[in-house]
């Protein structure tokens, strides 16, 4: 029972950590921009997955206009990106050039007949049930649908650093536990065994008497 709870706890923690990284770290898609538009949005339950008003604007109003980039991926699926400032907040992309990015994306629009492919760097998730969209960070024109996405050096660096720090903390915690906590727990367990032995023998003595 206890090991079941422990496993559930640790699996939940690691799934959560993995989700945060998967949401936050940049990814690159090769797509064809079909259209760009802006739409008034009123974030509600999904407001966690939306950024805030562009830097410098009044951030207290409930609704605002957001830029969107409509695309079709190489495999034929559609993907819609939002295009918002992350500003000085989380995640730390420090993106302020939302309007410029929208201009670039509009410039790279193409039709299926005369397809022009772009690499779009983004973070975030598309989810239809929450109406959330990945946030585009940058676009650049590429040669074709088979163009390379490049090696994700930043992701490799961040994940390696995270793994190193986690391992360091874990090793130190284990050493501390073996040196300080385990001996104490064992002493308590020994005491318990002795005590329960005494109780059992007392009951045994009752049984013998009857």
């Amino acid at each position: 029972m206890f090991s079941f709870i422990r496993w559930t706890f640790w699996i939940s923690v690691w799934v959560l950590v993995a989700s945060v990284f998967h949401y936050t770290l940049p990814q690159v898609d090769i797509v064809r921009v079909t259209d760009t538009y802006e739409k008034r949005i009123d974030p509600g339950e999904n407001s966690l997955f939306w950024a805030q008003a562009d830097v410098g604007f009044d951030g207290t109003l409930a609704n605002r206009d957001v830029f969107f980039i409509q695309t079709r991926r190489v495999d034929g699926d559609v993907m819609v990106y939002r295009n918002e400032d992350t500003g000085w907040g989380w995640p730390p992309y420090f993106k302020f050039d939302t309007s410029n990015l929208q201009a670039e994306a509009s410039d790279l629009r193409s039709t299926e007949a005369a397809a022009r492919y772009v690499a779009i760097k983004h973070y975030g998730w598309r989810n239809e049930f929450l109406t959330i969209f990945p946030n585009a960070i940058s676009v650049r024109a590429v040669d074709g649908p088979d163009a390379s996405k490049g090696i994700p050096w930043l992701n490799i660096l961040i994940l390696t650093l995270f793994a190193a720090v986690t391992y360091g903390v874990w090793v130190r915690w284990r050493r501390f536990r073996m040196a300080r906590i385990d001996p104490t727990m064992e002493a308590i367990e020994d005491d318990l065994v002795e005590a329960s032995g005494a109780v059992t023998s007392w009951f045994g003595s009752l049984r013998r008497k009857s």
Binding site: Q52, G56, G59, G87, G89, P92, Y93, F94, F96, D97
Partner: protein, 88 residues
């Protein structure tokens, strides 16, 4: 500007905690080294005087001032990311 102010305030607090911890740790390491040095040396000075002299030297050293890079490196990192995201 409120968001920038908040980032700077939180950043300053977090980095200050790291700075203080690192300073204390570095000073403790230096103390241990000085003690070892004294025990191996001629011991022509009392331990207290030797330690005091050594720590005064450490306080003036470049190594101690390098700990200030705890503040400088994140500042440079943020500037680089701002440039790469918006202007590169």
């Amino acid at each position: 500007m409120a968001a920038l102010a908040r980032l700077m305030a939180v950043g300053f607090i977090v980095l200050s905690v790291i700075y203080v911890c690192l300073s204390l740790y570095s000073r403790a390491v230096r103390k241990g080294k000085l003690r070892a040095e004294w025990e191996e040396g001629a011991q022509d000075q009392p331990l207290d005087a030797f330690m005091e002299e050594g720590l005064a030297e450490y306080d003036k050293s470049l190594r101690r001032k390098l700990i200030l890079s705890v503040y400088v490196i994140p500042l440079i990192l943020v500037s680089v990311v701002v440039y790469l995201t918006n202007f590169a």
